[in-house]
Amino acid sequence: MTTATLGGMPAITYNFAYLDEQTKRMIRRAILKAIAVPGYQVPFAAREMPMPYGWGTGGVQVTAAVLGPDDVLKVIDQGADDTTNAVAIRGFFEKTAGVATTTATTEATVIQTRHRIPETPLRDDQILVYQVPIPEPLRFLEPRETETRQMHALEEYGLMHVKLYEDIARHGHIATTYAYPVEVAGRYVMDPSPIPKFDNPKMDDCPALQLFGAGREKRIYAIPPHTRVRSLDFEDHPFEVQRFAQPCALCAARGVYLDEVILDDRGGRMFVCSDTDYCESRQAAGHRGEMAPPDAALPQPVSPRGEDATRVSDDASSDLSASARGRPAGAGAGAGTGAGTGAGGTEAGHD
C-alpha cells in the first residue's frame, strides 16, 4: 500500500501492485482464456497505467495481475536489467507491491521483458511476461481489425506466406529479423513481440508459462508451458537464427545474442552479450573474453550497458545531455564485418 500526500488534499492510496482487485480479476480471466486458446489474442479492458502507452503498460498489467507477495521479480529491457525503462518498471513494483526483485534469471519467479528472452533456460516455476507494442501479426498486411479477426478465425494465413515469398524473391532469404511470426500449437499465427528471431526457438516447448500483454492495443495472449511454437518458413527456406562470428568480448560466450558497442570513432567496436545477467554470471564463474576486465576490476558485476548515457547535469543552465556512450543507435553506417548471419543451426548453446 503506497501513500502519496497532496498539499491540502486527502492522501491518495493505491492497492497492492497498483491495480484494484476487480481489475486484476478481469485481467486474470483474460489470461486464463489466453492460456486455453494458445496464440489467440484475447481482448481485455486495459487500464491506463502511470507509465506511457508503448512503454510496457500491457506487460505491467499482466505482471500486476499474476504477482503475489512472495514472488521475486526480474525486469529486463533489451536483455539488460539496468536499462532505464527496466529500472523504472522494477521500481514501480518495488514501490507499489513491495515484492523482492532480482537481476538473476535463476532466482526470479516472474520475469517481465521487452525485446529479449533470457539466455538461461527457463523453468516450469517461472512466468515470462512480454511487453507487446503491436499484437497483430497481420497488421502490416491488413490494417483493419475487422478483417484480421476474420482471417484468424478462418485460419487464412496465405497472405503471411506471400510476404515471406516476396522476401525470398527479392532478397534470396526471409528478411524479417525481429517480431518474426510464429504458429502456436498448430493453429494461431502470433506475433512474438519484437524479440530478435534469434530468440524464437526458445519459445518452443518452453517449460515456463509465457504471457504477452499489449496495453494500448488491449490484447493478452499466451503460450502455455510445453507448447509447440513454429516460426513460419518454407520447406526449402527453413527458418534460421542469427549467428555471430565471434564470442562475447567480456565472457567469451558463443551461441548467444550479442550487442554491438562502438568504442571510438575510428571503427573500433566490440560485441558483448545482450543478456547482462547471463554475461555477469559467466564472468563471475571465471569466463573471460578478450576485452574482459581483470578479476581485480570486478568489485561487483559489471554491465556494458553504458548507463551513464543519460547523464544528468545538476547545473541549472544546462539541459539533459545525452552523451553517446554505451549503446548507440546510429552505428549502422560504419564499415566492418559485423556479425555474420549465415546459414546454420537454431541452437542457442552455452559453452
Partner: protein, 361 residues
Amino acid sequence: MYVAAKGGERAIRNAHALLAKRRRGNRALPALTLDQIAQQLSLAVDRVMAEGSLYDVELASLSVKQARGDLIEAIFLIRAFRTTLPRFGASQPVDTAAMLVRRRVSATYKDLPGGQLLGPTFDYTHRLLDTSLVGDIGAPTAEIGGAEPADMPRVTDLLGEEGLIESAPADDGAEPFDITRAPVTFPVDRPTRLQTLARGDEGYLLALGYSTQRGYARSHPFVGEIRVGDVEVKLFVEELGFEVSLGTVQVTECQMVNQFKGSAEVPPQFTRGYGLVFGQSERKAMAMALVERALRWKELGEEPGAPAQDEEFVLSHCDNVQATGFVEHLKLPHYVDFQAELDLVRRMRAEHEAELKEAAE
C-alpha cells in the same frame, strides 16, 4: 579492456530531481497555486478534465501544474489516477434541456424560445495582444443580464416536433458500454463512438471535422445549437429506490443539424451530429459533432471514402494518451532489434557488392 559504468537508477533519480527544479523555475517568484490555475487557466483545466475523463477541477489544476503546462501530460496524469478509482455505477443521463445555461447560441434561428445568450466567449473579440493584462488589473466588472433562468428548449427538440429532423435515438435504459472498463471491438455502437470521441484529442478531432467541411464527407452542417452550462448529475440508488443528486458538472453541448436527402424508406429530413464535452470547449464539441455525423455514413446510406468516415481509423487514433505514449516510446532503447537489422543490411550490402562484382567479370 572495456569497462562501462552502471548508473541507470541514479541517472533517473537525478533527471527527476532536475525536472522538479525546472518545474519550479525561479524561486524568487511565488509558486502558482491550484486556485490560480483553476480560476485563471480554466480552459486548460477544462480540457484536461474532458480528455482525462474525470471531472475534478482541483486534481486537473494539480496535473496542469505538475505537467508544467503540458496538457497532454496533464491528461495522462489524470487518466492514470482515474484508473485507480472504484466505479459506483452509471449516472442517469444528464438532461441538457434542464441545463443552467451560461452561454447558448444557435446559427439556425435568429430568435428562439429562451433567446440567444452570448456569455463568456472569445467570439467577436479582436485578437490584439492586450498589454493591460501584463499586470494585475483587478476585477473587471461585467453586466450580467438575463440572470433569471429562462426555459430553453433545445433547438433539435423544436425541429423534432415538426418531424424535420431524425428522432433522437431512444434510451433503452441499458447501462451503456464503458470504453474504460471493457475492450472495444469494431464495429462499435453509438455510446462507444460518442465516448471515444468525447475523450479524443481536441486537435485531432478539429482537423478531421475541418476535413469534412472541405469536402471529405461533406454533410452541410448547421450549428443548431451550442449550449454551455451546468447540468445536474443524478444517480439512481438501488437500495434507496430513488435518485440522488451528486452535484453539477459544467458541459458544452453541440447539436449539429445536417442535410439528408432521404432514401426509399425515409423522407428527406435533417440529421444529427452530436458533441458533448466536460467544461467549456465549443471547438471540441463542434468538431466532435462533425466527426460523429461523418461516422454515421453507413446507417444513412451515404458513400464512404473520406478519412473522417473511417470508423476504425478515426476511433483507433483519437486518444492522445495512447498516441503520445506510442510515438514517444521510440525513445526507448531498440538496440536488440536494431542489431538484427544492422546484420541484415550488412549482409544484403555484401551480397549486392558480390553481385556487382560478378556482373563486372
